[in-house]
Subunit: 279 residues, 2 copies
């Protein structure tokens, strides 16, 4: 089910700049117990992305109301929000005024086996590189060809995620996830100053680590460091935290810090999924 | 007027990967005397882009027939072809099989003043940088946020084009055009191995230069070299060749080699615009 600018509809003007140029942003949100989880954080990131791309953010209250309305249709699902610069303008030149397009869509929750959470997944390194440009780093924009080419590198269903390096050979993230490494009881995650998406679960995990006194380092990581980690896991809003049990030839255990962070995330998810009562 | 997968229509499925991810390619073609100019070259580049992005190219004969059909509606216009990976797939993972979407649209020719061709244009250097990634270099893909951010840097209508540098500070191209510099009776144009679009007019101009014995160098250029050129011009399929009469504080003459190449291009355009007669 889709809401396009507030109305049911699933066809968009071919002149929309989202279709013409990938000129927009998106959010992917877990729906649990008919509620969109961490919605405030998603809308805050979307607002930040709009500011970076000079797109007027649709009213947060309106987006939140539409998101909550759609989420009522599903006990467990995925809500995707797309905001584009709308139609018009002359070539790359943006229209004045900009009338953004907003699309909300509710999708079934993917049928991931339970053991991806409990036993971990298998990952590989991708050949496709992420380009470095601070202007687009961190935000969840619609220019996703690098991810698509990376995901097209493998068809083996035993491999659930590919880790991507940037053109300077630093490990940045997974194709659809952020990456964390535990080494000597400290937590590491790649810095996202040049590329990558600053994920909502990544932000939560960093917060949990601070809460429990676990040192967190956002620094560049290389392949050798990642392969030498004690624990590895990947995160996004749909999968939560997936431990990595194998990366290329390296086999890892699902470690105690990964389990602890999974528990903290699940507590936060359950709290978010509580029905809210009017005062 | 639009043809969407062969039928009149101007609304596309919101699930189309062009809208979701910028997962596709485009061509922009001049229509003159009811004919799409240099159509074979455009379709060849589109085919090359499809191979690079692993999108099955729609039949060239079909695209050519639809392009010629649409062009009959206009003495002077711009024909845009978009090919996307279509709908489906799971997140970034591409669908199997891929059923590409093709959209052809005919637009009015922009009302550029005649003196942009004869007297030249004013250009500036952009702050926005192009990211470097050989996987996407050269092809005319739908991930165009860098161009949009660059074009949003100025609103002064006296400035017609912005020149873009890559993240390694090399001059690559204009926001919507390719760049050529003449220095000491030799022709220079930036190499496009890391980013940029390999334009059809760029390809033609390089060919004309070879025909007339003008040495052509595809090499990295920096800002100082560009500012020191004897002649500068920018090219694309809609504008043809626009001399640059001013770049930042530097004022240039419209030079003899620019004029000669303009004449050669116009001869080639006129030959393309001739009606074809059945044998």
């Amino acid at each position: 089910m889709f809401l396009l600018n507030g109305e049911p509809g699933h066809y968009v003007d071919v002149a929309d700049r989202g279709f013409q140029y990938g000129d927009g942003l998106f959010e992917t949100i877990e729906v649990l117990n008919r509620r969109p989880l961490f919605l405030d954080r998603h809308l805050k990131r979307l607002d930040h992305g709009c500011r970076r791309l000079l797109i007027p953010m649709p009213q947060s209250e309106l987006l939140a109301a539409e998101a909550r309305q759609l989420a009522l249709e599903s006990d467990r699902g995925v809500l995707k929000i797309i905001v584009t610069r709308g139609s018009g303008g002359r070539g790359y030149r943006q229209p004045e005024p900009i009338q953004p397009t907003r699309l909300l869509g509710l999708h079934p929750y993917p049928d991931y086996p339970e053991n991806f959470q409990t036993q971990g997944i298998r990952a590989r390194f991708c050949w496709q590189r992420l380009s470095v440009n601070s202007a687009l780093a961190g935000i969840k924009h619609l220019n996703r060809l690098e991810q698509i080419l990376a995901r097209a590198e493998w068809r083996d269903d035993d491999i659930q995620e590919g880790l991507m390096l940037d053109t300077e050979e630093r490990v940045v993230e997974g194709v659809m996830s952020n990456l964390f490494a535990v080494k000597a009881d400290q937590l590491y995650t790649p810095s996202l100053t040049g590329c990558g998406v600053a994920g909502i679960i990544r932000e939560l995990v960093i917060g949990f680590a601070c809460d429990i006194g676990l040192p967190v380092h956002e620094i560049p990581l290389d392949q050798v460091e990642v392969l030498a980690a004690d624990e590895l896991f990947v995160t996004n809003s749909v999968i939560g935290i997936w431990p990595v049990r194998r990366l290329e030839q390296r086999v890892l255990e699902v470690g105690p810090l990964t389990r602890r962070l999974q528990n903290l995330l699940n507590q936060a998810r359950m709290a978010e999924a509580q029905p809210c009562f009017a005062a």
